[in-house]
């Protein structure tokens, strides 16, 4: 049912990603095997898999939120800085001895609210989302730094949170929150109208306008949905850290999230993609990083390999897309 609603490039991408993820698991297992027994390697692979949901939950939740935004033809480049603002609000709450629940809620609301406000700014100012959120990338980092300066007494660059209670969502509940959030997203894609309208908006704005749809309102709903997921992701990210450092927190987070969304088959210009593809895209990037950890002793080469991998996968898909397009023209 899910597959029947997807375009052929997205279906093809899902196939590649499933195959890619399976291959990466085999490669990780092969890397674990030397110097260990078969049972020992299986056990270590199991440990890697058990830790997977917790480690990739923030990125996956943010990626699902960003997918909805990209479907409408918009983008949000500011999510890394938004996470930093969430962290700053959390730090303020913690330093004033506010209860953990309120700290988590503040973090979620601050991060989610900023993403939603990006949507409103796009609507009001009629400026491309790329620009609004590129500005947000810088501005929100500044906001986070100003907030901790103002709201955390004696702040000296970072804040350590030793109490375990403040890390429960990011460590103990991350897997369950992830399952619930992914399930909700996939179900909404299958059975609700709004996600399909986001896709329609990204696919042809003029057709949607002729159909009588309020496009700017539709965009705002996508940013609201995105805000909810990015907010959840920020909460898990922050509560998984022992130290909160708004200057360096989640730096480059947006890049890996966008890379995962594009890897998952979502067209960066909107109108095409699936939440399932995004989930597999995030998993692929995570497993690729794990593979590099086990396969490459050289820490410095890992980022280069990661970049090459992203470019390779996207480039390969674009070549296939181009060939397919030309064949259709010939027909």
């Amino acid at each position: 049912m899910i597959l029947s609603r997807m375009t052929s490039p997205v279906r093809r991408r899902l196939f590649w990603l499933v195959a890619g993820n399976a291959t990466l698991l085999v490669v990780i297992f092969a890397c674990l095997l030397p110097g260990d027994t078969f049972a020992g390697a299986v056990s270590r692979l199991g440990t890697v898999l058990v830790d997977t949901p917790r480690n990739m939950a923030p990125e996956m939740l943010a990626a699902i939120g960003l997918t909805a935004i990209i479907w409408t033809g918009a983008i949000d480049l500011s999510i890394g800085s938004v996470v930093a603002v969430g962290g700053a609000v959390f730090a303020m709450g913690y330093s004033h001895e506010i209860s953990p629940v309120m700290c988590f809620a503040g973090c979620l609301l601050a991060a989610g609210g900023l993403v939603a406000s990006n949507g409103l700014l796009v609507r009001w100012l009629k400026i491309p989302a790329l620009i609004i959120t590129l500005a947000g990338l810088a501005a929100y980092r500044g906001v986070a730094l100003v907030l901790v300066n103002l709201g955390v007494p004696g702040f000296d660059g970072n804040l350590t949170v030793p109490e375990e209670i403040y890390r429960v969502p990011g460590r103990d509940w991350a897997g369950w929150i992830l399952v619930a959030a992914v399930g909700t997203a996939v179900v909404s894609e299958l059975f609700f109208r709004t996600p399909r309208l986001w896709l329609a908006h990204g696919s042809s704005s003029s057709a949607c306008r002729l159909h009588g749809l309020d496009l700017s309102r539709l965009s705002v709903t996508a940013f609201l949905f995105g805000g909810l997921y990015v907010g959840l992701g920020a909460m898990l990210y922050v509560s998984n850290q022992q130290t909160i450092d708004p200057a360096r927190m989640a730096l480059g987070f947006e890049l890996s999230v966008i890379a995962a969304v594009v890897l998952g088959g979502t067209n960066i210009f909107g109108g095409e993609g699936s939440f399932l593809g995004t989930v597999l895209g995030v998993l692929f990037l995570y497993l690729a990083r794990q593979t590099l950890v086990y396969a490459l002793d050289d820490v410095h080469a890992r980022q280069a390999f990661e970049g090459a991998l992203i470019l390779g996968v996207i480039g390969f898909d674009c070549v296939l897309h181009r060939v397919e397009h030309r064949m259709e023209e010939l027909k």
Binding site: I75, L121, L125, K126, I127, P128, L130, I131, I132, L134, A135, G136, L137, A138, A139, Y140, R141, G142, V143, L145, V146, N149, L150, L255, I258, A259, V262, I268, F269, D298, H300, A301, R302, Q303, A304, F305, E306, G307, A308, I310, L311, I314, G315, C318, V319, H321, R322
Partner: protein
């Protein structure tokens, strides 16, 4: 009109930061002295951003974007730092750097034009990739062979930077105002299908544009290393945002089809004065503000970007009407 507005903004920025930094600007000689000191310090620091802004203007005009400029600069500088200092540096590292810069730019151009990867995705990928390569080259080290090269440090001083900037802005401006290439780039950015029908070799022009961007990244790397004398794996991180802000403030449309080199140059000055002014205002902020004034840099950069694009959009709509 936009140039006048940008100049007024520049004067306003200078006035605000002069009063905040406590400089004596009550007399004409005081103002002249302040400006002299300011520009002596500002020009060498501004050079990389300004050089990259010229290239970014070309890229944005074609409806593209290059997020990898900071990584390109760092990688070129890293490769150059692998060569030995001394006179031979001029014949080995400098041409090698140019080759690497143009090669990286052409790779970006090939991804965008030949593989049809959207520019933002392609250059996002190369931004990570080039930074990774930079880490492979540099490891955790910081290399500083540049000040051992005879005459190299002069390029990072006031007069050297000024001459380089004058050459880039002057040659670029002359070429921009007279060449057919510029018209073709505008057409590619304005309407790619129409450009193909008009016989413009779109793919080749795109590769050329990104190659020029790569070449300018090399020049920016020369300016940067001549001033700072050292390079490491995190050099020029976040530089792309400053460059994009400068170009957009200068009146270049992010959707392509319109751009101004003069505007970009003024935009780069605005960004540099802001950066420098906030650094100078630290003493004042420690007394008057409950937070560090340098944090405002990010906020103001964001606000400048949004207001620049908003202004461009309004001008575009007025022109269309």
């Amino acid at each position: 009109m936009r140039a006048v507005v940008l100049l007024l903004l520049l004067v306003l920025e200078l006035a605000v930061f002069a009063s905040v930094s406590g400089a004596d600007v009550s007399t004409v000689s005081g103002i002249v002295g302040y400006l002299e000191l300011k520009f002596l310090d500002l020009i060498p620091g501004l050079a990389p951003v300004l050089v990259l802004s010229v290239g970014m203007t070309l890229v944005l005009v074609t409806a593209g974007i290059d997020l990898s400029v900071g990584s390109m600069l760092a990688l070129v500088a890293a490769v150059m730092s692998c060569c030995e200092g001394g006179t031979s540096f001029w014949f080995t590292a400098v041409p090698l750097g140019l080759l690497v810069g143009v090669g990286l730019g052409m790779f970006n151009g090939a991804l965008v034009s030949r593989l049809d990867i959207p520019p933002i995705v392609a250059t996002l990928g190369t931004m990570i990739f080039y930074r990774g390569l930079c880490q492979v080259v540099m490891r955790d080290a910081e290399r500083a062979p540049f000040f051992d090269v005879p005459g190299y440090e002069w390029l990072g001083g006031f007069s050297g930077s000024l001459i380089l900037l004058g050459l880039v802005a002057g040659a670029g401006g002359w070429f921009w105002s007279r060449s057919r290439w510029r018209r073709e780039l505008l057409l590619v950015g304005g309407n790619r299908v129409a450009a193909r029908y008009a016989g413009v070799p779109v793919d080749r022009r795109l590769v050329e544009t990104y190659a020029v961007m790569g070449g300018l990244a090399w020049l920016a790397a020369v300016c940067f290393t001549a001033r700072n004398g050292a390079v490491n794996a995190s050099t020029a991180t976040g530089l792309e945002l400053k460059v994009i802000v400068a170009v957009v403030l200068g009146g270049t449309r992010v959707e392509g089809g319109r751009g101004s080199l003069l505007g970009s140059v003024l935009g780069a000055f605005l960004v540099a004065v802001l950066d420098d002014g906030l650094r100078e205002a630290k003493g004042w902020s420690d007394e008057h503000l409950p937070f560090e004034v340098s944090h405002l840099r990010y906020l103001l950069l964001g606000l400048l970007l949004v207001s620049g694009v908003w202004l461009n959009t309004r001008v575009g709509r007025r022109d269309a009407d």
